[in-house]
Amino acid sequence: MRRPTEEAPWLRWVLCLAAVGVAVLFLVLPLVAVFAEAFRRGWGPVAKSLSDPDALAAVRLTLLVAAIAVPVNLVGGVAAAWAIAKFDFPGRRLLMVLIELPFSVSPVISGLVYVLVFGAQGWLGPWLEERGVQVVFALPGIVLATIFVTFPFVARTLIPLMQDQGRTEEEAAATLGAGGWRMFLHVTLPNIRWALLSGVLLCNARAMGEFGAVSVVSGHVRGETNTMPLHVEILYNEYQFVAAFAVAGLLALLALVTLAAKAMLERAG
């Protein structure tokens, strides 16, 4: 006996199969292919390519960039989301637009902007050169470009949630004597922790995997300024396909590990 708002059983099956099919085709198969290609000739070549000094340097650089970019975006994103959701101030709309900016701009353009500003021929170039500070084609440039493209993740996850939750709990805290910091720590933060975790993980995944913007500001110096995605491209271009897939597999593994960590934290929480 079918309820009025239920669809026919056959339709349900079709939709489920279609969803599973799409997921398998676009998500599972490529992932499986990466690992399959990497291990095509067994563990030996994989171990060798991962212990290659340039590969290790790429892994370290990727982890370092993520370790800097993610906390910066965490703090920045939370601050921006809090300001937008809980307060009215002139320029609030503008801030919301700016937060969306990295999403609408091509990553390559983002990288190019940094070259235009910090490069030797750029606005700040001569000033930086005088002081011997290297921003583009070095770690700071890579970190800045990564921060730019991953900034929205935390903010965008939090803003709708915080807007939905409204201000009354914070107002109650205010009447009870809480100042801004305590209000944030004891009232706002606990209410958003799962969304925050989700945003941080998205930010982390993108920070580790960003290619376009980093490629423009990197300089591609082997062993120095290549992140893992860049290194994968280099290996591929040198016909070292097994090595390329091995490093790509490692990158995928890092992503899977962070997802697993998130699932575990959610279960425990």
Binding site: A120, Q121, F137, V221, G223
Partner: protein, 335 residues
Amino acid sequence: MSVRLARRSLPGLALGLAAPARAQGGGPLLNVSYDPTREFYRAYNGAFAQWWREKSGQAVRVNTSHGGSGRQARAVIDGLAADVVTLALAYDIDAIAERGLIAPDWQRRLPENSAPYTSTILFLVRKGNPKGIREWGDLVKPGVGVITPNPKTSGGARWNYLAAWAWARRNAGGDAGAAEYLGRLLRNVPVLDAGARGSTTSFAQRAQGDVLLAWENEAHLAFAEFGEGQFEIVVPSLSILAEPPVAVVDRNVDRRGTRAVAEAYLEHLYSPEAQALAAKHHYRPRDRAALAAARATFPDLPLVTVDAEFGGWAEAQRAHFADGGSFDRLYQPGR
């Protein structure tokens, strides 16, 4: 290749990359090179490090960066701290010199116009040459897919283009005929990669197109990587003498105190050891002995030069590759 990553800790890596320039000599050398030289410089860097240690007792580490020649020149201008540049054509190094980073007379500082090895452009086709491509004229036959990189970013692509133009000028009715020929050629190009290696990958790995216009060394490398059974090398009736030059980036080596090592790095490219290595990687060495020894791998064919044929790189750039040049006029993607 001597590598000291074991000593580098994360903070060291971070500091090392963002630190102010060191006053005295030391620190790794950066060679900013063009796309196809990856394998060659990996081998050469190791050989050079060993030679330098024996000669001076110092350890040196050489880092490399590869990409399309034009793009790499652009990066050096924008602040990539190269100690030496080893690019595809003199014009790209001139662009850097124009910004004051390299002395204007750089090309005369090393023998043979600062080009320690030369190369040329050949065709790479599929085994059996099913489309029967033997000559430049065959490239404009309907249904033939030609793979070449983008002349705006790739040095190799500019050599390709000029070689084609030189042939067409002789065989297709002067400059007017050459323009028409290039127009038809470009219409047969399905994709323009940014660098020579990208094109090789498109052709060899992704099986796009029927013929690859390639650096000689790229053609041989594709052979080696994919098994000789897959491709054939076709030598056209005419090609261009490509002289990829090298130079020390004066501003950077003086600031970093690495001039001695950098100059030695480039000079050593002319040594018999390095020339043999170049030949091994399918670059035509300047050294006569090395060239004779490797005669078999380097087919003889008439070669034109940029200076004689096109009046030098500045002129060629202006006429063909600058904004509004012949490439811009003739390349209409999607048509």
